[in-house]
């Protein structure tokens, strides 16, 4: 008995039930959140690296599920994000209207499907299983995007399909070359030959499309901006992380042999461009949700900018994990808050938000706190992430990377303070439609979680580095007392 | 080669011939109606002959039954579609090549 399979399977059980439950979604969701929370806690208590094959079929035939530090951080974050987003969605997709509203009826099964896909992606080390997982996520994500704009969803689907093909192409080469698709086995066998390098390049290309890394991000802003708020929260929070995590597993574990420093630097460079491009685009947006969506494009950049830093000094791996988690939570909070704000505002533009800080202080607070994390200001998970990454960059002499991250933070401040300032402006207090408490609480709780993440940095970083792949710099945590002592001795 | 094998070879040859005739007809006949003619007759005869050859080759009743089903299905399909196609080909003039 292990939480690893249950974390994937339980949401599927709930998906089946939700298809049969009709108006009982509320109870189902409560049950789901309780179950998943318990399983997540269980997962966090496992020793990092705990793994087992599904059904007892050994590798290379079977599928291995594994709880490494990255998964032990991401899966609970998914539980938090998805759970709270679900509470919010209970109002937007009120179960009572399941008989008359297609989106309501479809949302809940898709929601559980996405939840399962995210957990499955973070927990498995099997490249082919990851393909199926990617497609699970794609289906749910595109369908949710279609609830906002069919056009954007169609574009998303086509691009996602192409991405999957490239990924699968790589998997085919790897399977044929090595006779296994398991990352842990590949880590010991992979060689830096042409087929492997090509496979890595193809898979990375396909995954970058799904992770929406500049310049393959084109599908993201329209889809994420148009979707209903809870859907956007899940899309930006969960789905793009899947592609990212698989890329990490390839580059630093499975195919690390073929991951040349040049390749890592190319990815890092693209990440840097993504930060700058996404931020500048976000600054230009007039619509609030488009702004938040472009912010995702920029924030994805950080994840890849960290790639060339992983193997060097510092704690880039922890920073990377932190950023993935902090962005997931904060971005979900921001989309949910933005959804509430737009419901109260006169229109979709940022200029329509005037006076909302007075009318809905809690929601604007949630938006603000999420913004703090996304800008990387203290105290927040986003800060911890950026801090560790900048620290690692400077320790490795990568001044440009550090500069880009710092400038990215400033640009984020430029675009994120704009809606906040407008919300603070105006003398009129707009009339705000009544909202259910849980709808207000969800973004606030997420934003607070993003904030609190900044306080738990030490233990969480330890969690993240547990079971990290061998390519990650394993430096013993410097015992501070010693360093202080030596420093003061030197001073004397 | 045994007699059976000669028979199989002959059947196969004939079958392929009918197939080819059907294809050529489809390709060379001037209008849709006559092409339909070529299609529905020739290739089903071809299939029948090939099927017979294969059935003889396997020499098993079960396989033969399966093959018979295949053939019957093909004929049935051809018949049904030909009828519909014939109906609608009357008002068919697709402007685009």
């Amino acid at each position: 008995m292990s939480p690893l399979d249950l974390l994937v399977v339980a949401p599927l059980v709930f998906m089946v039930l939700s298809l049969l439950a009709g108006g009982w979604q509320r109870s189902l969701l409560a049950l789901a959140i309780a179950t998943m929370a318990a399983l997540s806690v269980w997962l966090m208590t496992l020793d990092p690296g705990t793994a087992h094959v599904v059904g007892g079929w050994e590798l290379p035939l079977g599928v291995l599920l594994r709880a490494d530090g990255l998964a032990q951080m991401l899966v609970p974050a998914v539980t938090l994000t998805a759970g709270l987003t679900g509470l919010y969605a209970l109002h937007q997709f009120a179960p009572e209207s399941h008989a008359s509203n297609a989106q309501t009826a479809a949302f809940w099964p898709l929601y559980y499907l996405m939840w399962s896909a995210a957990n499955a992606a973070f927990l498995t080390t099997d490249l082919f299983n990851l393909y199926v997982t990617l497609e699970m996520a794609s289906i749910a994500a595109v369908a949710m995007a279609a609830m906002g704009s069919v056009r954007a969803a169609l574009r998303y689907l086509l691009i996602a399909l192409l991405g999957s093909i490239f990924y699968l192409l790589g998997v085919a080469l790897i399977l044929s070359r090595y006779g296994t698709v398991d990352v842990t086995l590949l880590a010991g066998m992979a060689e830096a030959d042409f087929a492997t390098a090509l496979a890595l390049a193809l898979m990375t290309g396909g995954l970058l499309v799904k992770a929406a890394l500049f310049p393959l991000h084109g599908w993201l802003p329209p889809a994420h901006a148009a979707a209903p708020a809870p859907a956007s929260a899940l899309l930006s929070g969960l789905v793009v992380k899947i592609g990212f995590v698989i890329t990490v597993r390839l580059w630093f574990e499975g195919l690390a042999a073929a991951a040349t420093p040049a390749g890592l630097h190319v990815l890092g460079g693209i990440g840097a461009l993504a930060i700058l491009f996404g931020s500048l685009q976000a600054i230009r947006q007039e619509s609030l949700k488009a702004l938040v969506a472009y912010s995702t494009v920029a924030q994805i950049g950080y994840l890849f900018l960290a790639f060339p830093l992983i193997a060097g000094a510092g704690h880039a791996w922890a920073g990377l994990s932190f950023h993935a988690v902090a962005h997931m939570i904060a971005k979900a909070a921001m989309f949910l808050a933005a959804g509430l704000m737009l419901k109260a505002a006169a229109g979709p533009r940022i200029a329509d938000l005037a006076g909302l800080a007075r009318a809905m202080p809690l929601t604007v607070t949630a938006f603000g706190l999420a913004a703090v994390s996304l800008m990387g200001l203290p105290p927040s998970g986003g800060f911890s992430a950026k801090f560790l990454l900048v620290d690692a960059a400077l320790r490795q002499g990568q001044a440009i990377h550090a500069a880009v991250m710092l400038i990215g933070g400033l640009l984020a401040a430029v675009y994120l303070f704009r809606p906040l300032a407008v919300a603070f402006s105006g003398s009129e207090t707009p009339a705000v439609p009544a909202k259910a408490p849980s709808m207000v609480a969800a973004p606030l709780a997420l934003a607070l979680a993003a904030l609190l993440l900044g306080f738990a940095g030490g233990p969480l970083a330890e969690l993240a580095t547990g079971g990290a792949p061998a390519t990650v710099a394993q430096e013993p945590p410097p015992s501070l007392e010693n360093t202080v002592k030596t420093a003061s001795e030197d001073a004397q | 080669m045994t007699g059976l094998e000669y028979a199989i070879a002959g059947l196969l040859f004939m079958g392929v011939f009918f197939y080819a005739a059907g294809s050529l007809g489809l390709l060379r006949f001037p209008d849709s109606a006559s092409r339909l003619h070529a299609l529905t007759k020739a290739d089903n005869v071809g299939l029948g002959l090939v099927a017979l050859a294969v059935a003889l080759h396997w020499g098993s009743v079960a396989v033969a039954a399966k093959i018979a089903i295949v053939w019957l299905f093909a004929i049935f399909t051809a018949g049904a579609t030909a009828q519909v196609l014939g109906q609608s080909s009357k008002d068919e003039t697709d402007p685009r090549p």
């Binding site: 704690h315 203290p378 105290p379 306080f455 360093t483 | -």
Partner: protein, 492 residues
Amino acid sequence: MTAFLPLALLTLPLVAALISFAMPEARAVWRDASNILFALVKLALVGFLLLQAQGGVDFEWRYEFLPGHDFVLRVDAIALLFVTLSTFLWLIATIYAIAYFERGPNLARFFGFFNLCVLSATGVAISGTAITFFLFYELLTLATWPLVVHKGDEKSLTAGRVYLTYTLAGSAAFLAGILWLKALVGPLEFAAPPDLSPVPTLTLILIFVLLIGGLGVKAALLPFHGWLPQAMAAPAPVSALLHAVAVVKAGAYGILRVVHDIYGAGTVADLGLGLPLAFLASATILYGSLRAVMQNDIKKRLAYSTVSQVSYIVLGASLAGPIAAVGALVHLVHQGIMKITLFMCAGALANRLHIKAVTELDGAGRLMPVTMASFTIGALGMIGVPPVAGFISKWYLGSGGLEAGDAWVIAVLAGSSLLNSAYFLPLLYRAWLLPPQGDHAPVAELTGGWNRMLVLPAAVTALASLGAGLFASFPFSPLEWVSLIVDAGYLR
């Protein structure tokens, strides 16, 4: 147990902030009461710490907030100086703000951020490492922004934008500087200064420029001062707090820490950085004064005066030698109580008589004698007239300049005093010696319940600044305390 005392210093304003946020506007009385109560409790705590610290006890609390990075709170003598100032002025400013706003809109928000501001200032004061300092420094930016844009009009929004642009860019530079230095020499503990000898000189200079550039923004050093006059769009209590304790002081205090506790005054001088910094400070002093002369708006004039006066601290910090250090530190306190007096008076004038421009001041002394008397004390102190506190600071700065062999400092001080007179004396002349314009009746300053609290706090701080000058050589006076610090070798 005592290790948690530094934490308690932060917890008190935090709890006050949370209570303020949570309390509905209708419960304003409770909010006001709790704010004052917490300020009093904190004052008592500070008193206790003062007694302890006199015996040479330092309090420290540390926690590894990220791998390899400790969060250190350390209450030493210098920190206590700043903490005492901020705690005392917090109480005063809170009382004043309650009277100033009466029952205006958005006060829950206002007092919440006000308290967060105090929290950050306290944190800045008791930070034990450069990184801890940065955390609070950045938090300060975030907490003050809502105060700056509090009014929500076009002017405040612009001011908020300008403020953020300057301060966030500054923090980014500061962060880059400390992380860079940390990458080279290990943790930057103020109590255990790092060994800089292995670092190349050019790098050290570059990092110094980053650090001072980052801190100079909040300290309103010359090229980075632009935000401060704009921030006058904020309500008077905010200006009072910003100028006297929170923002500019944090910058100046940071420069003190960098020069003395990270680099060490000797190293700064060896690197040839002291003199340029002193020149920059001097230029700021003169430039700020010149600009102040040209302002008609009272608050703007005071703002430029702050630009000038804060640089005294920087000047003192940049001159090697204990006397200048005493001048710098003591001015940190003196400028605070004097400047808060002036701003509270300006606020009272604007509130009661709607006087905002210098040219409207005619006869104000007759209409609001108590207020104008306080204002006069503050202004004379700024000019450096004995026995008001300002004189003491300037005396020590001048002596420090002589001690360091930089006699030109005297000329700067003299020039600045002249300019100070040029912008303060006409004001006093109008207020006391010219007849009132229009038909204003004298204001009942000291009657009417809370109304008097608009006037009394300024009177208290005015008396304090007088006392700080008069009783400069008595125990527990700022000067004595500072001398104690310097003698104890806290500043290198």
